[in-house]
């Protein structure tokens, strides 16, 4: 047995590499193919609620058995034909983009401050960034409901300062979604940014100053370009899951906060149209593969340049 494994290169180093590959094959590629298969079938009232893709047709009269493969492309055509899906996609991208920009604007100064803090303080500060993860995600979102609702913390504060007189509800709007999602994904932005900013050699800034460069310009010409890998990594880590986000918009968003995650949920559970839901999922995936590939390309080039 070991001999056989050795012969096909699946022993020692091969084994170590094979484990993650096997994992990805089992838990990513196989489910993906199942979903892809469902997306090409037809919805029907049955259990499971879709027609099988491959069927053996046994014709007893003619005494023949036929293999029938039915590929139904109409699910994908529906995605293009119905405004709902396109609007949901566009709105998801918009919300994800706003979230990413907010995370970047908030996260960059945070990461910079932590990276420039005394070495002994960096650990505890990073800990504070990660700390919210130790509480259930849902509980944290429910806490935001309490903060944002009418007569909630924000509303009371605004009324107390006299900025508003009427009860004012931030909850169930796109604003609430932006706030909630920025809050959720901020650590994903801070972590990679901190990693690149911490590695940045402070003598480079001294060199820039020595050559007559003012601090803000040194930031633009030295710090910012050199932290680009962190910006890209953080932005993708925030953007990609934001596009498909379901829970936060569902709990904080209004009825008209249309996102692809909610459409997906509706198709699966409300309409029980698994094929269309699968097509939405596959389209979303393809749509996300492009930024990942761009990211990896840029990352690869950066690593090469850094050597």
């Amino acid at each position: 047995m070991i001999d056989l494994l050795r012969r096909i290169g699946l022993w020692g180093r091969g084994m170590v590499v094979a484990i993650p590959y096997l994992w990805l094959l089992l838990f990513f590629l196989v489910p993906f193919l199942i979903v892809f298969g469902i997306s090409l079938s037809e919805a029907m009232l049955a259990q499971p609620p879709y027609a099988p893709l491959i069927d053996w047709l046994v014709d007893e009269d003619a005494g023949t058995t036929k293999l029938q493969i039915l590929l139904n492309l109409s699910n994908y055509l529906r995605l293009g034909g119905d405004d709902l899906y396109i609007l949901a996609y566009l709105n998801s991208v918009k919300i994800a983009l706003v979230t990413t920009v907010c995370c970047l604007l908030l996260g960059y100064p945070m990461a910079y401050a932590i990276a420039r803090a005394e070495p002994s303080k960096r650990g505890p500060l990073m800990m504070l960034v990660i700390l919210p993860f130790w509480t259930s995600f849902l509980i944290r979102i429910y806490a935001w409901i309490g903060i944002l609702k009418a007569n909630g913390v924000v509303d009371n504060l605004l009324q107390w300062t006299g900025l508003t007189t009427e009860p004012f509800e931030l909850l169930y709007s796109d604003w609430a979604v932006y706030i909630g999602m920025t809050y959720c994904y901020l650590p994903f932005m801070v972590l990679p940014l901190y990693a690149t900013l911490e590695k940045l050699d402070p003598t480079l800034l001294e060199a820039a100053a020595d050559l007559g460069c003012r601090p803000w310009k040194a930031f633009l010409t030295v710090t910012l370009p050199l932290s680009l890998p962190g910006i890209i990594a953080g932005s993708l880590l925030v953007f990609i899951p934001s596009v498909g986000e379901f829970v936060t918009p569902e709990l904080l968003g209004g009825p008209d906060t249309l996102m692809i995650g909610r459409v997906l949920w509706n198709e699966f559970f409300a309409n029980r149209d698994w094929p269309v839901a699968s097509a939405v999922a596959i389209a979303l995936l393809l749509f996300l593969v492009v930024p990942i590939m761009v990211f990896q390309h840029v990352q690869g080039r950066q690593t090469e340049a850094g050597r």
């Binding site: 050699d201 003598t203 480079l204 001294e206 060199a207 820039a208 100053a209 020595d210 050559l211 007559g212 460069c213 003012r214 310009k217 010409t221 030295v222 370009p225 050199l226 340049a305 850094g306 050597r307």
Partner: protein
């Protein structure tokens, strides 16, 4: 061992000319980090066109002093004047100073040309002029064809020259160099030392260089300040520092030295006689010292100034006074010989138990050398060889 200074003294040196105003004046500068005193009341005057070396071990405060000149650190006390202007409160980007960093600090995301052009761009120099000046300075450091490369595509020596070009392209009046040759291998370092001196003389820039390498300081600089624990132990030309150290620290830091302890028995205007248990003979030195008779002093004798012989040395006329009654002559047994090619180092154990280091040029081939292990030899030196150290 010590390389003679390569500059020829053609005129009165500026630090001896009372009419000259110093270009850099450091007045009682102190810098503390918490409880640690990095620089302790240092005062220095450095003149235009000098190649000035701050020499010291790690933690001697030399780099802190340099960083205060560049403006990266603020003196806790004292003042720094550059060209007569008080530098207090002037940020690094407004000082007429450029610095070459020990790590070179090249911008990794910019090409060699962009790195060199960076400083000129900050000053808003016209594009055409930037191109011309960057090209000229890259030619000067022999990197003309490497302009498009990124720093990581260059060797250590090439990076060092990019860093030099980048700090010189703005034509600063004062260039600070922090261990400029530290990262280079020995052969490249020697060649670059001469290149640096040539460039400095060609451009007439004042250089202040920080180094821990005494040989480097001796080769390149017009004057050296030896630093120890935040204090300047001695300032002088390389010859002064080497031949007339003022303290044991300086004598031992620069080159190698044999230190004999002794008591002053005779102090005249033209000579001093010291009785040394250590050396096993009386030491005769042809300069006077200002210490009372009977005081304990140290006498430093450089290894290359001691002559070795198997026969008792003949009293030549010039040495008659010195070597009379066995002064400056002692004997011992050769314990170790290190053959370095051009010279050999002999470790001779004196009868008193002290080990003395002697270097002698290998005039004949190693195999024909008359002195070998366990030989009894005589050591002698001339009256000018010793330096009396009271501190």
């Amino acid at each position: 061992m010590a390389v003679q200074p390569i500059r020829k003294p053609t005129r009165l040196e500026p630090w001896q000319d009372p009419g000259q105003k110093p270009y850099v004046r450091i007045e009682k500068v102190t810098k503390t980090f918490g409880d640690f005193v990095a620089v302790d009341e240092v005062s220095l005057s450095i003149y235009r066109g000098e190649f000035f070396a701050l020499l010291g071990g790690s933690g001697s405060g030399k780099t802190t002093l340099l960083r205060m000149l560049a403006g990266f650190e603020t003196p806790t006390e004292g003042k720094i004047f550059i060209d007569g202007v008080d530098m207090a409160g002037i940020p690094p980007y407004e000082r007429p100073v450029n610095m070459m960093f020990q790590s070179y600090a090249l911008f990794p995301h910019m090409s060699v040309e962009q790195n060199v052009a960076f400083g000129l761009k900050q000053d808003g120099v016209a594009k055409a002029e930037i191109k011309e000046r960057v090209g000229a300075i890259l030619d000067l450091v022999q990197l003309g064809q490497f302009g498009k490369r990124k720093p990581h595509q260059l060797s250590g020596g090439q990076r060092q020259r990019v860093a030099l070009a980048r700090s010189l392209v703005k034509r600063p009046k004062l260039l600070l160099l922090d261990e400029p040759l530290g990262a280079l291998d020995k052969r490249l370092r020697e060649r670059t030392q001469f290149e640096l001196v040539n460039i400095q003389e060609k451009l007439g820039v004042t250089f202040i260089v920080v180094t821990h390498d005494q040989e480097e300081a001796m080769t390149m600089s017009s004057r050296i300040a030896v630093m120890n624990h935040g204090v300047i132990a001695q300032t002088g030309t390389p010859t002064e520092i080497y031949e007339y150290p003022q303290s044991r620290f300086v004598a031992e830091f620069i080159g190698s030295v044999n230190m004999f302890e002794g008591r002053v028995v005779e102090d005249q205007a033209d000579h001093v006689l010291i009785r040394s248990e250590d050396a096993g003979c009386d030491l005769y030195i042809n300069h006077a010292v200002a210490v009372p008779a009977g005081a304990t002093v140290g006498v430093a004798v450089r290894p290359e100034k001691i002559a070795l012989s198997k026969e008792p040395p003949v009293n030549a006329a010039a040495n008659a006074a010195a070597n009379a009654d066995g002064r400056n002559v002692t004997s011992g047994i050769v314990r170790e010989i290190a053959y370095l090619g051009d010279v050999s180092i002999y470790l001779v154990e004196l009868k008193t138990g002290k080990t003395v280091r002697v270097t002698a040029p290998n005039v004949v081939r190693r195999t024909e050398m008359p002195i070998t292990w366990d030989d009894e030899v005589y050591l002698s030196w001339r009256p000018f060889a010793g330096v009396v150290l009271t501190q």
